[in-house]
């Protein structure tokens, strides 16, 4: 008993000679999660990877085709185009919302909060977060009405304010459609970083701001030298999370454009979906989703590594 107490106090946990080891007991609590992870993530992923090495129509027996699907992917211009579009989505769903969310969060926290009170901040924060709560199918349909070429609200608004020459076929013109979808995604995504950053700002010591203000630092300098460094962990989390969301974006493309016009807004997840279910090329569709999963996994690991390194640097 004495030994146990001593170990707890010193924090040195060894297993030697102890009849009830806490780690083993805790492992039981991890079990449901581990099993669910195996059943829902690992097993389907391995099965999907297995299918990607076959030529299969979804019914009957799959035929082993080795790396044929992956070789075909390398030469598939549609696949590479869909990945290029994904990069645009990363800009729309990760880069822009993170940057704008940072400025907005700082402004709400540091300016609006002080001058208009916390209730106003709460209302504004909820307004920005609202698109995150709306089902993407609903938001997509509403946006397709807004962006409709002939009687859409946006074109009608432009006409009403004398900017008829700015009217566009927002989702039907291949030169514009991708940017229109990006615009919708910025609107959808903005609330998430905003809420995370505002939560992060709660833990920043107010004395830092006060001291900076006394030293004559303006809003921008306080934002740059205090806000940004203080909520760096949140920025890493948001960037990683939003990049992953951008790479697997599906719902918005499905509802708004179905990858069109002429493939101008196609993205890997939608491409994989149509290959699976419309073309019934299940093996090829599995290869696309396997590549997508591996890329997402790599990016997540890089994001986590960068975050850990930054934390270690700050700790030292």
């Amino acid at each position: 008993m004495t030994v146990t107490v001593e170990r707890r106090v010193t924090g040195k946990q060894t297993h030697a000679g102890h009849p009830r080891r806490p780690r083993d007991s805790y492992a039981l609590f991890l079990l449901p999660g581990v099993l669910a992870f195996l059943a829902v993530i690992i097993v389907p992923f391995l099965m999907n990877t297995g299918v990607s090495f076959t030529d299969w129509q979804g019914v009957g027996s799959p035929e082993w085709s080795g790396l044929a699907n992956y070789r075909e992917l390398l030469d598939d211009s549609e696949f590479w185009a869909s990945f290029r579009h994904s990069l645009f989505m990363v800009v729309a769903m990760a880069a822009v919302p993170t940057a704008v969310g940072l400025v907005l969060a700082a402004a709400l926290f540091d300016y609006v909060g002080k001058h208009f009170g916390s209730k106003t901040v709460a209302v504004l924060r909820a307004c920005f977060y609202l698109p995150q709560v709306l089902p993407i199918a609903v938001a997509g349909i509403v946006w397709s009405w807004i962006l409709a070429p002939d009687s859409g609200s946006l074109n009608e608004l432009l006409k009403a304010i004398g900017l008829s020459s700015w009217q566009q076929d927002w989702l039907g013109d291949p030169d514009i459609a991708l940017y229109s979808v990006m615009g919708v995604m910025v609107w959808v995504q903005l609330g998430f970083p905003l809420v995370i950053f505002m939560a992060g700002l709660q833990r920043v010591d107010p004395q830092l701001y006060e001291a900076a203000e006394l030293d004559g630092a303006g809003w921008w300098r306080r934002f740059w030298h205090i806000t940004l460094p203080q909520i760096r962990p949140e920025i890493y989390v948001v960037l990683t999370w939003c990049t992953i969301a951008a790479l697997k974006v599906f719902g918005a493309v499905y509802v708004l454009t179905k990858g069109g016009p002429g493939g101008a807004t196609n993205v890997p997840s939608y491409f994989s979906f149509t290959t699976f279910f419309e073309k019934t090329q299940v093996g090829y569709g599995a290869a696309i989703s396997t590549v997508l999963t591996v890329i997402i996994l790599l990016l997540s690991l890089i994001g986590l590594k960068l975050q850990t390194r930054a934390e270690e640097r700050e700790g030292s």
Binding site: S25, L28, G60, G172, D173, G260, G262, T274, Q281
Partner: protein, 431 residues
Amino acid sequence: MLTARRRVVATAVILAGSLLLTSCGDSDSGSSGDGKTLKLWHYEAPNSAMGLAWNEAIKEFKAKHPGVKVEFEEKGFEQIQKTAPMVLNSSDAPDVMEYNKGNATAGLLSKQGLLTDLSAEATKRGWDKKLSASVRTTSVYDANGVMGSGKWYGVPNYAEYTMVFYNKELFAKYKIPEPKTFDELTAAMDTFVKNKVTPLANGGAEYIAHQYLYQLALSKADRAWVDSYELYKGKTDFHDPAWTYAADTFADWVKKGYIGKTSSNVKAEETGVSFIQGKAPILFSGSWWYGRFVNEAKFDWGTFLWPESNLTLGSGGNLWVVPKGAKNKELAYDFIDITMSEKIQNLLGNKGGVPVAADASAITDPKSKTLIDNFNTLSERDGLAFYPDWPVPGFYDVLVSETQKLITGSEQPDGYLDALQEAYDKGVPQQ
């Protein structure tokens, strides 16, 4: 007594075992049914002609089979389309279900042995006599899953075909007579354009646009051309005169303003609504719109077949299929037989559908009569030419995507036809 670690391992083994057993579930569907339940799925809207007719058929079935329970589940088209192979491979398959016709759907399932061969029942119950040759094409599939010959794997109880719907009031407003020839149709469209009205309702995001294009090709084609394209009875060349004419004319119509340049991302529903709202004076589409226009269009409208074309898009409707693993097949055959009865067929006809075995004199509604008369005209001249997306799995997406490019002008007709050729050749079954 188990230690904590052993308990963990034992629990993990039990749970993992259960999960594996669940996920790999026994798909054996061999057990026969009790003859007391008919499990039935279809995806027709309850207020559509087919939905009303099938509901009546269920009532009739119950009356003829006292003590038999009908377990009906209403499904969505997409739901069945996307999950049918998995469902039919499991023990949850229904006894009878509605399924989409064509090589890439019913053909694929028949090839994989997931559907029951209905040939003997079709002869025994006389279904083969009731269906015309062109309607029957989608019922039979060969060993490669290609429609047109082989064994019976499905029974269509209605037919569908495309026609020109036109707003008589808008035609009258601009003093345009009903077009009887192709030149009169284009002259009518010119008049609308001059009056700043886009004549053709179009939707590039779904089937509407490429059906215009296929119809243009069909107007220069014959049955051998269709058989070659749809049934692989010859080589299909997308640069032949029919396809070239279709692509050139379609692109020209966009330039002339017959088809809106902003219609590339418009869906089929929005296209139909633009006709119902009286915005577009002409819509070329299928008989599936007919009942809805009867109910919702508040103006005088009419229909005519595409002028100067023997062929038009159309086929037998969706199929009743009996899954291989169905437990009560006899009940399923009885139900299909009831849907083919004169009573149900006449009801279908009077509700705005196109019955395949109705008594013509029993169709009393004048608009329904026109619909059925037009179908009979087509049927007599063997005029149903199926749909352009049927020959190759995934060709629907290719047609949508490429035709969108033709509308936006980001692709020229020649490049458009090249793209179709490439996708067709890649997907066409090697025989």
